[in-house]
């Protein structure tokens, strides 16, 4: 191919070889579909001379239109159906990209990582103010994502702060329930009074709630929830290793072909992991699924909705209501009033920030006695760590290309026990939640 180039041309031009190969690759392939005239010729028809294919030749024009209009004969635009690119296409595309130059790789990887992190960050409302506005507006314009763009972000930020503070204040111990108040729900009472524990036992005791005489509200002895500290710190179920080591080495470019197959497999693995709370599975699958959707910058316009709400599983109001209901405390009339007061000070009841995918306070229902199931929302997650992990470090993308390490293990619940129906784990101590100092 290059033999006719002069030595001067070729001197110091090793880069020309890949370029020439690109040109060659682009200019080879299957033979194009011949025109009707050529097809006629191939089938043994006589070669017509002159301007037979010109539009002015009425006889030929009519003949060529017997089976439909000749291509481009009338100079009209061709309307073609656009079809979505299959996943396999991305696989091959990424394989091809893997063969590209280092800088091209870095640019693509950075774009992909930036798209991933920016989309996730913007959806979470955690980008800096001006960036949040710009990124949010851009993503809203090109994708189905609903991202806070500015002022509304304040609501999200505020809600994030509240939830963060609440979680940070969750203690690891739960006060002891006094013997005078029976436990309800799924707690198992063992040993002497006052030392009840939440265990892994499936022996569920549902005591009957006796009539409790409450002389005066301010002097009511508050319930004490058994101390379950020792069993809250270790997760009974671990996320699959693929979640933590999806991209095992920071700053390196993963094998794209492998990654394309790896992510769906990891999602399947997460979903198949028994005992994981539904919200954790949903969170991990949601994030991984989104990563799959952003494997090519070209596909940003077709991103699936990033539902980060799955990563914020602590529904404070619902969780608290149900914990209280489970302990029988919520059945006391004043508790409902107290919770109403507390949650109204949080601004709860509005259902969180509309349109952001977040719903920190859930669909709070003050009909406490009706909540007899403890939702998975009671599983606390270190939201700050989780979001930091998901959104990555925008300012510290690997300088040599590649993507940041993706480690979703930070989205794992920070404390679970077992034995509480409906949770798949347990209930954290709640005495640190702002209204519990009333104790």
């Amino acid at each position: 191919m290059l033999e006719d180039f002069t030595p001067d041309d070729l001197d110091g031009l090793p880069w020309l070889v890949p370029f020439a190969q690109d040109v060659r690759f682009a200019s080879r392939g299957a033979a194009p579909v011949p025109s009707p005239e050529l097809t006629h010729l191939f089938e043994g028809g006589a070669l017509r001379s002159g301007l037979s294919i010109d539009k002015g030749d009425l006889l030929v024009t009519a003949a060529s239109n017997v089976h439909g209009p000749a291509p481009q004969a009338a100079g009209l635009p061709k309307w073609r159906k656009e079809t979505p690119m299959p996943l396999a296409f991305f696989s091959t595309l990424l394989s091809k990209l893997a063969g590209a130059g280092t800088v091209a790789k870095a640019a693509i990887a950075t774009t992909t990582a930036f798209a991933t992190m920016t989309v996730a960050g913007a959806a979470a409302g955690v980008l800096p103010g001006p960036a949040q506005g710009a990124v949010g507006a851009a993503i809203n314009a090109i994708s189905p994502l609903n991202v806070p763009t500015g002022e509304p972000a304040k609501t999200v930020d505020a809600a994030t702060d509240i939830v963060h503070n609440v979680i940070a204040s969750v203690p690891t111990s739960i006060p002891v329930v006094p013997p005078s108040i029976p436990l309800a729900g799924s707690l198992t009472v063992e040993g002497p009074a006052g030392s009840a524990t939440v265990g892994a036992s499936t022996n569920v005791v549902t005591p009957t709630i006796p009539q409790v005489s409450i002389p005066k509200v301010p002097n009511i002895p508050l319930p004490v929830i058994p101390d379950v500290t020792p069993i809250l710190h270790n997760l009974p179920v671990q996320l699959p290793a693929c979640v933590k080591n999806l991209i095992p080495t920071p700053g390196t470019l993963p094998n794209p072909t492998t990654l394309v197959a790896q992510i769906p497999a990891c999602i399947q693995s997460v979903l198949a992991t028994g005992g994981l709370p539904v919200n954790v599975s949903a969170c991990v699958a949601s994030v991984l699924g989104t990563v799959t959707g952003i494997l090519s910058p070209a596909s940003i316009g077709t991103l699936p909705k990033l539902d980060v709400s799955a990563c914020v599983p602590l529904d404070v109001s619902t969780c608290t209501s149900n914990v209280l209901a489970a302990t029988g405390v919520a059945k006391m009339p004043f508790v409902g009033d107290m919770m109403k007061s507390i949650f109204s000070s949080f601004g709860a009841g509005a259902g969180g920030s509309a349109g952001t995918g977040f719903n920190f306070f859930g669909n709070f229902n003050f009909n406490v006695p009706g909540l007899n199931a403890i939702p998975s929302g009671c599983v606390p997650v270190d939201i700050s760590k989780c979001l930091s992990s998901v959104t990555g470090s925008l300012g510290s993308l690997p300088s040599g290309g590649g993507v940041p390490k993706v480690d979703l293990s930070a989205c794992m619940p920070t404390g679970l026990s077992s034995g509480i129906p409906g949770v798949g784990g347990g209930i954290p101590g709640l005495s640190g939640i702002p209204f519990f100092p009333f104790h």
Partner: protein, 186 residues
Amino acid sequence: MALGHAFDRVLAAARADAGWAYERLYRDLSPSVCGYFRVQGAQEPDDLTSEVFLGAFRGLAGFEGTEDQFSSWVFTIAHRRLTDERRRVSHRPPLADSWDDTYRDDPHGGDVEEDALRRMSAARVRALCEGLSHDQRDVLLLRLVSDMTVDAVAEALDKTPGAVKALQRRALAALRQVLVREGVPL
């Protein structure tokens, strides 16, 4: 996929108006001709390719030469057809964005992935060549796509071999600058 020793026989059959011979010549050379139109950014490379071969087959009686010379001759026709196309397009806004075509269906089936990659490679080549003049791009792509010699390119472009070499040198220098600007290690 050159015809090799069979070329003379195929050429003679085509001159005798044998349909199979026309098809053989078309199948052998049309992919690279179509590819040339593609990397040059022509809007309807398939249609142009058909027109080139119709013209070539009509003029077969006047052609004498080897397979390489036949290839150069066909590419010369192709290049002139491209020049006409450029002139025509310059007077009329494009009907469709060529990059959008990258993602459209391959009307004749085949390997969708490979076809898409091929089109993307063509887009990449076009992007790299955007900084080149028409003449520089023509020289470079004719050399690389069709394997034409400097003399053959000179004949196709109606220039002297010296001018073609100069254009080639400047094209390479410009291309190198584009790559340097993109940060590609050379």
